[in-house]
Homo-oligomer: 363 residues x 2
Amino acid sequence: MTDRRLAEDVRIVGSGLLGTSIGLGLAARGVDVVMDDVSPSARRLAVDYGAGREPAAGDAPGLIVVCVPPDVTASIVARELAAYPDALVTDVASVKAAPLAELRAMGADLGRYLGTHPMAGRERGGAISARADLFVGRPWVLAGHDDISYRRAGAIEDMILDLGAVPIELDVERHDRSVALVSHVPQVVSSLLAARLSEGDGAALQLAGQGLRDVTRVAGSDPALWVQILGANAPAVVDVLRPLRDDLERVIAALDAPEAPGSRRAIADALAAGNTGVARIPGKHGQDRRFSQIVVMVDDTPGELARLLTEIGEAGVNMEDLRLEHSPGAQIGLAEISVVPEAEQRLVAELEERGWTIAGAFA
Amino acid sequence: MTDRRLAEDVRIVGSGLLGTSIGLGLAARGVDVVMDDVSPSARRLAVDYGAGREPAAGDAPGLIVVCVPPDVTASIVARELAAYPDALVTDVASVKAAPLAELRAMGADLGRYLGTHPMAGRERGGAISARADLFVGRPWVLAGHDDISYRRAGAIEDMILDLGAVPIELDVERHDRSVALVSHVPQVVSSLLAARLSEGDGAALQLAGQGLRDVTRVAGSDPALWVQILGANAPAVVDVLRPLRDDLERVIAALDAPEAPGSRRAIADALAAGNTGVARIPGKHGQDRRFSQIVVMVDDTPGELARLLTEIGEAGVNMEDLRLEHSPGAQIGLAEISVVPEAEQRLVAELEERGWTIAGAFA
């Protein structure tokens, strides 16, 4: 890593959430960023936000980052490869096999192209939601193939590191299968569940708790973008949806005859498989580590939560995570604090000594 | 409400999470609570936690709260109605139509029974997870029927208010349909999705983000309890799962032929229906109000988040919600703070003045 350097003279094509965020992050590190977009008004907005400068005659970018919707990624990458014959080109689309295959079919110069995919985003898109730190600490996949040299790929990895992200190498097929599982199918499932609420009894929604809110949060995402993502990764998504559908059929059949022999077992098996699956998701900082939770009652007034966290800090304990529970109709909050198990007992004692009500503590 | 009084001489049957939490809450308000359980060791544990005293000869409870698994709720309620002919009896099972029908079939005295259901719980059960404030601010359904008088139902409502919960009246069928929609089906969907992860590529899980974590969180719940809940509310659950299955089939068919006419439209419709549904979930405090979000970069060291919240408190702004984003591999955090829209601009200005990096702000 001794020869790591900032990417220089970067051209970004597409000024949406990702393009603008990359521009902001690189510009903040002193890189000369050119921001381009098929829409002049979108481009001007991103330039106004400080994500780069307008294109000019004679621009000779060393690196081009294509940040356009998946549907047009391959054609724009091909255009940029042709227009800038000395430049390295990457893209950030959520699917990787289809664009590579399209580029290969077009006869594009794959020796100068390497697709990537930052695992970062927001439910809201556009330059207006962009932020220079969008990628900090996030995985960013390099979708490797055999036509680009190790040295050239290194320049793209440098850009990823400069933006604070964590590079992960996966080939295009493995990338697409992976994101189908951890991103695309969860999106579909969340949307299908949320869709059931669109017809539901209003009284039912009064009973909504944190569980429902969590399961449906990503259902707020942009349909136009997701139609493209799902369409471009359809085979991998269907490969996960089909067994999920089969499991769902088994649960429906069991619930149609809950007293029949085997029905309870079928339902229990589905729930137990869910336990097994959720336990495999790594925790914060990419570790599989489990934390202890401490639940503290906090008045819903300015400064109370701050006082709690100040006192946690004074106790020398680092919170791994913090969750405020919603309390419909009440002016009180519950703060669920995650700490390393070794710190749990000491922190509970310290907080109780300072007069806090500990509503629960468990590993 | 002038004649509201604390419930007196309460007998709790079942010392799990709900029974122990009710006992803790009532005992804290000076109620004489008797804690009973078919398991003497479970009962002693709840008594040790302070959730009540051991049963004694001559106990004459005015109110009995049955907190046992759904499968045995009706038979225990019937036993208690018979054993204490002057007592009012309630239960807290997650399903309400089946126990009422069973009791009616047994010829139980329904003039002294009213089922209820607190919308509170944790992924972890047992007395060890119990807390006196478990119900604070939560909806608690009174599942009304015509055999119990208004006056008697009032005593149960008083207990609910004493525990800090928000009483909501729904008849048993409407309750069961409502919880199928907002609780039971989300549990099934979350478990089915999480089950897919149990076979997934380990590399895929490295790419897991907050979206996957949210959708699968409740998949950690206890299968044994959920088998009973789903079995007891099977018809209402299936009524929601079936159209969800049909929607899923349409998405699978569309993804099987993503370029066919109508496929993109079918996928977009499913995603848009999800948008509509999620927008119907009420926000914190039962309001439909939308908040503005401000995202602030926070070093992952003790005291930093506390300092941020202290300064928010000093600015006189009340946080409506706070979310810490996980940053796998990085020692940095992003705090997403929800505030009323009127406070957004002022808070951003105050925080920037104090040197905080605002990574984003949006309504």
